[in-house]
Amino acid sequence: MTTTDQRPRRTPEQTRERHAQNLGHQVAGGVFNPRQLLTSLPDALRKLNPRHQLRNPVMFVVWVGSLLVTVFAIGEPSVFTISVAVWLWFTVLFANLAEAVAEGRGKAQADSLRRTKKDAMARLTDGRTIPGTELTVGDLVVVEAGEVIPGDGDVVEGIATVDESAITGESAPVIRESGGDRSAVTGGTTVLSDRIVVRITSRPGESFVDRMIALVEGAQRQKTPNEIALTILLSTLTIIFLLAVVALQPFAVYSGGQQSVIVLTALLVCLIPTTIGALLSAIGIAGMDRLVQRNVLATSGKAVEAAGDVDTLLLDKTGTITWGNRRATELIPTGGTDLDRLVDAARLSSLADETPEGRSVVELCATAHGRSPEPSAHERTGEFVPFTAQTRMSGIDLDGRRVRKGAASAFALSEQTRRVVDEISAQGGTPLVVAEDDVVLGVIRLSDVVKPGMRERFAELRAMGIRTVMVTGDNPLTAKAIAAQAGVDDYLAEAKPEDKMALIRREQEGGKLVAMTGDGTNDAPALAQSDVGVAMNTGTSAAKEAGNMVDLDSDPTKLIEIVEIGKQLLITRGALTTFSVANDLAKYFAILPAMFAAIYPQLDRLNIMRLGSPQSAILSAVIFNALIIIALIPLALRGVRYRPASASALLRRNLLIYGLGGIVTPFAGIWLIDLLVRLIPGIG
């Protein structure tokens, strides 16, 4: 079982890598361990309580049926009647087990979260010390190195490194400081150095950790809109079958073959959609759990469902579509300079430059032009000239050579160089001019580098019907170039928060669902307005409050995974419903001849499985109906495999697997079970 504190510690790089890997393939699921069935048994037994059963109309009918059959079986005990009663109870129990297993996985996580809460004491700025549980909104708390932050809040004074591993599983400490977008701290995390003053922002019992606990435990799990609609459909099917079975008795009496209550109840339980009824809540809980496993917390199941419906994805350019920094991608000599000379000069000018751009120049010289990435002993003797706002250039003085690189405006440019510089700007890049002793040698092209695989990813999204919009503060020219390179459908350039908001509104006016990520306080309104707003855990409390999900890894690309999880959730429900209903065909072929071949011998021709005896046929169908629940628990927890494809392709595939499969499987299953059951004395 996965628990937060057992989670392997990851560095941010590893995290990023992990998600980069995840980008390529389908949503993976949680691993199901058969031992979980055993450990969840006590919970499953507890759920036999009728009040719990009432929440699930389909299983409540089974529960009542089991009770009824038990009473009749006691009245006329036989191997058959008792077996049917026992297996009907198993059906209810297996359904409980599915739910208990799903909940059990969250419980362990909740327990470890609870440990983080237990004994934090809060030192107020006025000198009093009170338990963390008694803090209210607005309290100012002092936290020093080695202490646990007693509640959620914003840093209002100081700067500190904080260990947030208790919440995020990340061991690398993060910096939290007053002001700006890095001020939010979470209760239960530990200050590693320095001293901060925190203004509490959450009411007691409603902190982030509290919400997380409630979420992973599924304690106040409310049925989502789609789950309610499906429950109504399943109840309708149940009513139809109830009517069909209830009306069957008078028809049977008319035909001269009255049926026992036990047989009729067995038929009813086999026909109503018990498979999906039993697994429905487990599917919902497991869906949330899959998010938690990816370090995403959703405030409601509704948000997860909405994620599956998203039509438009707003993605920040920096950090999501491109690496955070611009990198050198090309060296262009001008004024007849030899390329080798330009490479040497560019490298020299950047050797001592520790900025990401500087390092990327050295890297480019090493990878594309075979130069050494490290300075030689001789080169180390040069004198580094740092960048200043006045000179707008940096470089090195070595052996009397003054090698510089800098902004184009810092140099006197020839006509040709000017053209190169303008062209780079026009294509969305940043030009850096290289000069030696005031003679311009050429230009370095710095450009945003789109992360590998993004283009394919956006193509997949497009196939799924999701439009991607890149949001950036860049000018329209730059934005356009990167948008084309990354393959997004549209872009919003020079975006201010209100532009983002307007875009979301416009999309929603057209009936579309919008998802976005954000971290800053100025993202909060847009996060609140969007249908799926994923706040980064590194972001401000305001952002986290406004969104309906929080990504603990603060990885904006995760939005794509969230969409897939949402879709997977719905697909699993639909697939298992189809499977459940398709199963009924075989059950009719098993049970109807068993019931009525005595009155109309020609009906035995429908017994195409050649089942042993009427009793073994009925019992086999009941046993199959119960066992299929257990067999499908892993699928319910893991979710149906989702691969991005067009809606038609998905439907065709799932109809084939779960519709056709649902028709065929029970024929084989009931036939196999019957081979064993007919051996039982008194039945075969």
Partner: protein
């Protein structure tokens, strides 16, 4: 010419005629319900009825209009039958007994036209003309109005208005049913259908009952009503004298239900949406025709009760048309069909009358089924289900579910009780499986507002008159209220634009899904009951 070739020719002619009428007539219907201007006659009617034709109604008001109009219709028709003896052209036929009058009133107002009476001896011409014929027109217009209101649910956005029931009712009657009925009545009279106010004519020394038939005959088929002016219905030479009238009557039965899919496609702005519904209706209808035809052509049962005037192919064609729509007129006795043939006619009704179904009712019934099918399909592609740009959430699914539940509920409960009532065995002509088929058929016919009789069952006892009356009323009005509620929920939504992630509802995939849903829902619900009736018969 062998009867098979003749039959195929008839089918070919029928399909050609329907195909020719499909576009112009379907589009005409669309215009009828969208025009904003009123004719002079209509304005007079609105003034007399104190209706403001330019105001629109919420779904609840619309539904109240349907219910109120229908219940007043039932009351009037009941009273009319109960005082028949004082009306002109009654020919001493006396007042209709209360049970029968109730059953008949409900039957004609619900567009069922189940007849527990023998018209020649029970109904005078006045009740026929100002009672039954009037209901033949307006009950059909009500069905079309409801269907149009449901279509508006899909076409409109962010509104709580579904149109004006009174306007839709008046337009359907005056602009569609009356003109078509008038033209074809003249044609039928020319082809030999009777139209007389006398009570009987002498034929070879025998007095044969006669009535003003032609005026009712057309609307009987056109409005998918089915109530015969004479007891033998379209098997009677006065109603259906020859092969041409037979074919015209079948054409009239199918004309509106088939054309309304065009109306639907035109109104939602995508004709393919209508074609796909038509393809599902057509495929199931053709399949059932093949079953009945083959079963009858190869049946080994004696010729007792078989229709010999038109032959087996024409009987099969008529039977399939009349049970596939909720008409219920017959040109042969379905009770005399083989187990499989009769079972297929029964199954046509158990589909819920949507292949192609009754006037209006067929369209809204198949749309409800499409909503259910798309709900499941939508889940399977990982999106909140939607159909025609409208999301299918809790309210939509609930309304669709209630609409679908009504028919099996009243059918199974009614038939179940009837099967064990002591008097039932005495009311049946046949024991065993065929007897159960007769019971099932009667309740299927009533609950689906079909009205065709399997015959072979005497339904004049108070229990049958009352229970079948209740089945007809609930089978009609519960779905109507539910689909109007569905339309209200749909109209309130904004349209979701179609994207690459939207499941297309025009191709063969959707058609198979929809056809599969129609068959599956009927099969899962009724197979246990059918096993003891038609299936046991057919497997013999």
């Amino acid at each position: 010419m062998s009867s098979t070739v003749a039959g195929l020719l008839q089918v070919g002619l029928l399909v050609a005629a329907l195909a020719a009428a499909y576009r112009p007539f379907g589009d005409y219907l669309a215009r009828v319900y969208t025009r904003t201007t009123h004719s002079r006659v209509e304005r007079v009617i609105y003034r007399l009825a104190r209706v403001n034709p330019d105001s629109e109604q919420r779904w609840g008001t619309y539904a109240l209009g349907v219910l109120g109009f229908s219940f007043v219709g039932i009351a009037l028709l009941y009273v009319l039958q109960r005082v028949q003896s004082v009306l002109p052209f009654a020919y001493d036929r006396g007042n209709v007994p209360p049970g029968m009058a109730f059953n008949t009133a409900v039957s004609f107002v619900t567009n069922t036209n189940w007849q527990s009476y023998v018209p020649e001896t029970v109904m005078g011409h006045t009740v026929q003309l100002i009672g039954l014929t009037v209901q033949n027109f307006v009950s059909a217009a009500v069905g079309m109005a409801v269907a149009i209101a449901v279509v508006r649910g899909f076409t409109r956005q962010a509104t709580d208005r579904l149109g004006n029931f009174w306007v839709d009712l008046v337009r359907g009657t005056i602009r569609v049913l009356l003109p078509v009925a008038f033209v074809f009545a003249v044609v039928l009279v020319a082809l030999g259908v009777a139209m007389s106010f006398r009570s009987g004519v002498d034929v070879d020394g025998q007095t044969v009952a006669i009535a003003p038939v032609a005026s009712q005959e057309v609307i009987k088929e056109l409005g998918t009503n089915g109530g015969g002016v004479l007891n033998a219905n379209s098997a009677h030479p006065f109603e259906n004298p020859n092969g041409w009238t037979n074919l015209i009557e079948i054409f009239l039965i199918l004309l509106i239900p088939v054309s309304m899919t065009r109306t639907f496609g035109t109104l939602v702005g995508d004709r393919r949406q209508g074609y796909v519904l038509l393809s599902v209706m057509g495929a199931l209808w053709t399949a059932m025709l093949a079953v009945i035809w083959v079963a009858e052509a190869n049946g080994l049962r004696p010729l007792e009760g078989k229709e010999l005037r038109f032959g087996i192919p024409s009987s099969a064609l008529f039977a399939n048309a009349t049970t596939g729509t909720s008409t219920g007129a017959v040109n042969a006795m379905h009770d005399s069909f083989t187990g499989l043939g009769g079972g297929a006619a029964l199954l046509n009704m158990l589909f819920g009358e949507m292949t192609p179904g009754g006037v209006g009712t067929g369209l809204y019934s198949i749309l409800v089924m499409a909503v259910i099918a798309m709900f499941l399909a939508g889940l399977m592609v990982g999106r909140t289900p939607e159909y025609l740009g409208k999301k299918l959430g809790r309210r939509e699914v609930t309304a669709a579910a209630v609409s679908i539940l009504a028919m099996p509920t009243v059918l199974l409960l009614g038939a179940g009780i009837a099967a064990v009532l002591p008097g039932t065995q005495g009311a049946l002509n046949n024991p065993g499986a065929h007897g159960l088929s007769e019971i099932l058929y009667a309740y299927a016919s009533a609950s689906n507002n079909n009205g065709s009789a399997f015959a072979g069952i005497t339904v004049t006892s108070d229990w049958f008159q009352a229970s079948l009356g209740v089945c007809m009323a609930l089978g009609r009005f519960v779905p109507i209220v539910a689909v109007l509620c569905l339309a209200g929920a749909l109209a309130a939504q904004k349209k979701v634009p179609a994207t690459a992630g939207t499941l297309p509802t025009t191709g063969p995939l959707f058609a198979s899904l929809l056809a599969g849903s129609v068959v599956l829902v009927a099969a899962l619900t009724f197979v246990p009951a059918l096993a003891l009736g038609p299936i046991a018969e057919a497997l013999l």
